[in-house]
């Protein structure tokens, strides 16, 4: 097979957001008719990369990007998404950008409708031209046939099942005459299995017609099935690229989450609950939670007394819904029992009174009183729920707030957690993210909880604060025997603190693994590909060889590497 010319080449793409590096030196090529799978965990930089390709305004507003984009061998700098569209790059977004009250055809041809000519338009210009609906319907039917999906050109978008909305978006992109490359961001996330099948086969058809496709998905099985070539991003860097044929879900998953790391660190911190046969401190059965974007469908697990239990999973799969539902912050149902006693769900006060506490993932909105001082923030919950920091006056008729006790308590935690501030009265809104998170932890500790939920404890905080936060949790667990449930997107962090880690996928617990389990197994659970069959050592071996080969090819032109993959 001849060397296929790359239609799009990315060369050393990098991007910083406000000093945070989110992408560095990403390079790869896409050839005409090639389907490229772009995979990576949340935050690995996939979406940013695509935004750079489309020259979204937010990229310019935050200082542009590094590296260069070659489109048909010429370096391009699109001024905005419309330039990219003009050049022949189409994008199907994660969120539907369709108008609900318009029909399929109207949505497909929005702003580029076929128009009738008439005398009036000669006088008043093209703005008042009438739409040539007949022609539009014909054209959209042709595009729909090209994709090979059962879409009705006249149906209103709001009446469609989600799958058809997704199809409409794709049809809109391919109906452009010039389109050479289509980017699909998680196109199958909202589809049922059969719809996804239809979509995948129609994508193959498109590729056969010479259209290049960048396919972004968390469903690794689909990536392996559909794509010719896979690019794995991790922490803003390209870690590997290799042909999809011959690779397995498992190998891709382990590349996504990172290489196997030494697990010595965990061993020394296991001081709690080792081997003890105690009744579960917390048992959750058939929990459902209606939290927007984090729906929990059917979750059952139990946590032993004194254990640090981890809940992981990709964003949007429902892991955050679990603590929010149990703590009464989102509508929930099912059975939650604390030390064997069932607890009523739906009111935030009940779990607090029973000795549970929650460090929310949403620091600014749920976790803190930004306009108040550190002392208020730390002591408020304990004061309201457990009547701490109060002095009864007039024979207990009134509960007087003891500002002095609050001040001293806050001072103690400022020292313990090394909160950088000017004093306990400083407004929490003026603290840095890491210090705010420490305040949130201190707030939970002030309640002296029996069971503590900590949601995304290290999100958006610097390395130093991260370390203190995790160490404090471990210390608190071993000193007071507090049962801790940590919910985090960062698998490494869970593996360094927890002994058992549950992985949530599509609102259900996909599996519970010991922290010593290989990363690839976590990856498989996170991608919801549990039933992939037995582990495939030989394929992994294959991949190693492949990546070694890629290493040696680094000096060749990437286009040549792409060509090789086609062989």
């Amino acid at each position: 097979m001849d060397r296929i010319k790359a239609i799009l080449s990315l060369r050393g793409i990098g991007k910083r957001f406000y000093g945070n590096r989110v992408l560095s030196d990403v390079s790869f090529d896409v050839a005409a008719g090639q389907i490229l799978g772009l995979v990576g965990e949340n935050g690995a930089g996939k979406s940013t990369l695509m935004k750079i390709l489309f020259s979204m305004p937010e990229i310019h507003e935050t200082g542009g990007y590094e590296g260069s984009i070659l489109w048909n061998d010429r370096e391009v700098r699109f001024k905005g998404p419309s330039d990219a569209l003009e050049a022949g790059i189409g994008m199907v977004h994660q969120e539907f950008s369709l108008i609900p009250g318009f029909s399929t055809t109207e949505n497909i041809f929005l702003n580029r409708e076929s128009l009738h000519k008439s005398v009036m338009t000669d006088i008043f210009g093209s703005r008042i031209r009438a739409l040539d609906r007949e022609n539009m319907t014909k054209l959209s039917q042709r595009a729909i046939d090209k994709l090979g999906v059962p879409l009705d050109p006249g149906m209103l978008v709001k009446e469609m099942p989600v799958g058809h909305k997704q199809f409409t978006e794709i049809v809109r992109e391919i109906s452009r005459d010039k389109v050479k490359l289509i980017v699909l961001d998680e196109p199958t996330a909202v589809l049922t299995e059969s719809e996804a099948e239809v979509l995948l086969s129609s994508l193959r058809l498109l590729a056969a017609e010479g259209i290049a496709i960048i396919f972004i998905s968390h469903r690794l099985r689909e990536v392996v099935e559909l794509c010719d070539w896979v690019v794995v991003l991790r922490d803003g860097k390209k870690v590997e690229e290799f042909p999809a044929r011959g690779s397995s879900v498992k190998t891709i998953a382990s590349l996504m989450v990172g290489r196997e790391v030494e697990t010595q660190e965990q061993a020394e911190t296991r001081v709690y609950a080792e081997g003890k046969e105690e009744p579960p401190a917390l048992s959750v059965e058939r929990l459902w939670v209606d939290m927007p974007g984090e729906t929990v469908r059917d979750v059952t697990f139990s946590v032993k007394k004194g254990e640090i239990f981890g809940i992981g999973g990709l964003a949007g799969q429902g892991k955050l819904g679990i603590p929010n539902g149990i703590m009464g912050l989102a509508p929930a149902g099912g059975t939650v029992a604390l030390h064997g006693k069932p607890m009523r769900l739906g009111s935030p006060r009940t779990p607090l009174e029973l000795g549970m506490a929650f460090v929310s993932e949403d620091r600014r909105d749920v976790g803190l009183l930004l306009d108040e001082g550190i002392d208020w923030n730390i002591t408020f919950s304990a004061m309201q729920v457990q009547n701490k920091f109060l002095k009864p006056i007039l024979g207990g008729l009134f509960q007087w707030r003891s500002d002095g006790e609050m001040f001293d308590f806050a001072n103690e935690y400022i020292r313990l957690l090394d909160i950088k501030c000017t004093g306990p009265r400083q407004r929490v809104g003026n603290l840095s993210g890491g210090n705010q998170q420490k305040v949130c932890l201190a707030k939970a500790f002030a309640l002296r909880p029996d069971v503590l939920f900590v949601s995304e404890p290290t999100r958006g905080i610097d390395v130093g604060a991260k370390f203190i936060v995790l160490e404090t949790l471990k210390k608190y667990n071993s000193e007071y025997g507090t049962t801790i449930v940590i919910i985090s997107s960062e698998l490494e962090e869970l593996r360094s603190v927890c002994r058992r880690i549950a992985v949530v996928y599509e609102g259900r617990i996909e599996g519970i693994l010991p922290h010593t389990a290989p990363l690839s197994e976590f990856g498989i659970l996170m991608a919801g590909a549990k039933d992939e069959g037995p582990k495939d050592e030989s394929l992994e071996e294959n991949l190693r060889n492949e990546s070694l080969r890629n290493e040696s090819l680094k000096n060749e032109s990437p286009a040549a590497a792409v060509g090789r993959s086609e062989r």
């Binding site: 607090l352 309201q384 109060l390």
Partner: protein
Amino acid sequence: MGHIKRFAADFGLPRMIIAVYLLGLFLMAPMTGVSFSGALSDVFTRIGMNGILVLALVPMIQSGCGLNFGLSLGVIAGLLGATVSIEMGYVGVWGFVFAILASQAFGAIFGFGYGVLLNRVKGGEMMIATYVGFSSVMIMSIAWLALPFKSPVMIWGYGGEGLRTTISVEGFWRHILNDFLSFQLAGHKFPTGAILFFLLVSLVIWAFFHLKIGTAMTAVGSNPIYARASGIDINKMRIISVVISTMLGAMGIIVYQQSFGFIQLYDGPLYMAFPAVAAILIGGAGVNKASLTNVFLGVVLYQGILTMTPLIFNAVLKLDMSDVIRIIVSNGMILYALTRKTKVLK
């Protein structure tokens, strides 16, 4: 220099200009022939009259319900209390005490309904509050005619039924607070009782916000989601704050009446909310944060300027334009105050 700058930033330049202007007016008083002590006495009388009405805004601001533009509802509760007290024929201290007690009962009932309503329109409280104020005044305009009051002091002389627009409290409890412990200040009366009463009520409110419940209320105003996550019943706290606000409004108008000497019915309550709101904003309060310092400073600055400006201008211009100037100044200050409701000052 840095010290002064920091102070200016903390105190706010506009507030400083207002304070300097007020000071200037006082200094000009002797030069223009206006009696200094008389002016001071006037200012204190007005502070005593209006203080509690401004204080009434604090609970709702603290609980996140915003500025109580529906203060008229509380004022109506106060009017009902006052008229019922006169109807019953109580005079003197007991008349005043009964008026306040009755007004508190009305205020609690009205405030509860008002609070329930405001809980249904979270985010649009101030707009709805304004309309609650307007519509309650209009409904009461009908009610004042229809309610079966009999006291000849209060009903229309000719028809024999329906209440008059203005009812004198002379002979009932006029100046009951102003005269309490009052003394002569260079020939002018100092309204000791009214000021003491204002300070007393302020003390109670200060104490309230140092209780567990007051702390919870502040947290609700600061961040309702945080409060909910800490097990606070947000709606309950908000209703309590609205009830307290309305009750204080009712008490405030009775204090106002005993000093003013008249009960103003019909559309009288319509114009009570804006000056109070303007005063607390000039005092440095924000839409969901207010302190007693804001109240004191606001009342002193607002009422001070409102009293002094016409006095001095009249004396300088030798024209009696006091009412025109008063209206220009008060509405100008309201306008200024409403445009600067963003930054909270100490």
